[in-house]
Amino acid sequence: MNGALDVATAALLVIGGLFCVVGGIGLHRFPDFYQRTHAASVTDTAGAGLMLLGLMFQGGVSMVTLKLILVLAFLLFTSPAIAHALVKAAHGHGLALELEVSDDDANPPAGTSESGGGGE
């Protein structure tokens, strides 16, 4: 029983870690700021979520698990708030959006532009 739980924890930690790494890779591969925020949200949800779930298996039904659930709940509220604040701030200060489709009058699509501006 304990062995199975340990295996589940290990598997979830590794998979969560993989999602974090993939999110990091995406952070580098995506061409502009706005798209990079999307990659970061993979780390936030899948990475952190799976790792916390794995740790909950170790905690069992206890105070520790309750705290982990609370950590997850706070994360689910704060990470979209932060992502929204980042993107809105960038947008408000006029960082150009490269769009192919747009319903917003203020931001017409810039044609089918392929160059993403290398960044670093």
Binding site: S41, V42, T45, L70, P80, D104
Partner: protein, 159 residues
Amino acid sequence: MLLLLAAAWLSWSGPYTLDGWMIPLFGLASCLFVWRLYLALDREAGGDREFFHPAAWLRLPRFLVVLVFRVAMANFHVVRLIFAPKSALHPRLRRVPASQETAFGQVLYANFITLTPGTITLDLRNDELLVYALDEESEADVVDGSMDRDVLRLEGRSS
């Protein structure tokens, strides 16, 4: 609310710290302080409480299951995009209606969209969300309104 805060403090500090007198006193003080902040914020917000009726709490588990499912699917899609060539990205900006009646419901919907990888809410005004998405597939659930209905169902407005 005060009881909730006290329970939260107890769960963080652990019941074993209740032995002396000083730490419980600090705990009580911090609970009262946060409660005071909460009352001030609530007054500021005009008390938008309609959302928290008991029936909504009963519908919460189902909403959480839907949320986890949608976030998981979106994660796989974005991971696929990360390893795809850059031409697979078709960034787009769309206006979508947020038909929730309470302000809380609309904010919840906006947060739901932002939490889902591949889509981010840029702005919320006049009951409309400005949603930025990576490509057509990641915005599909937002554009066809199914995520909107998920939140509506939690709010209890539609079946």
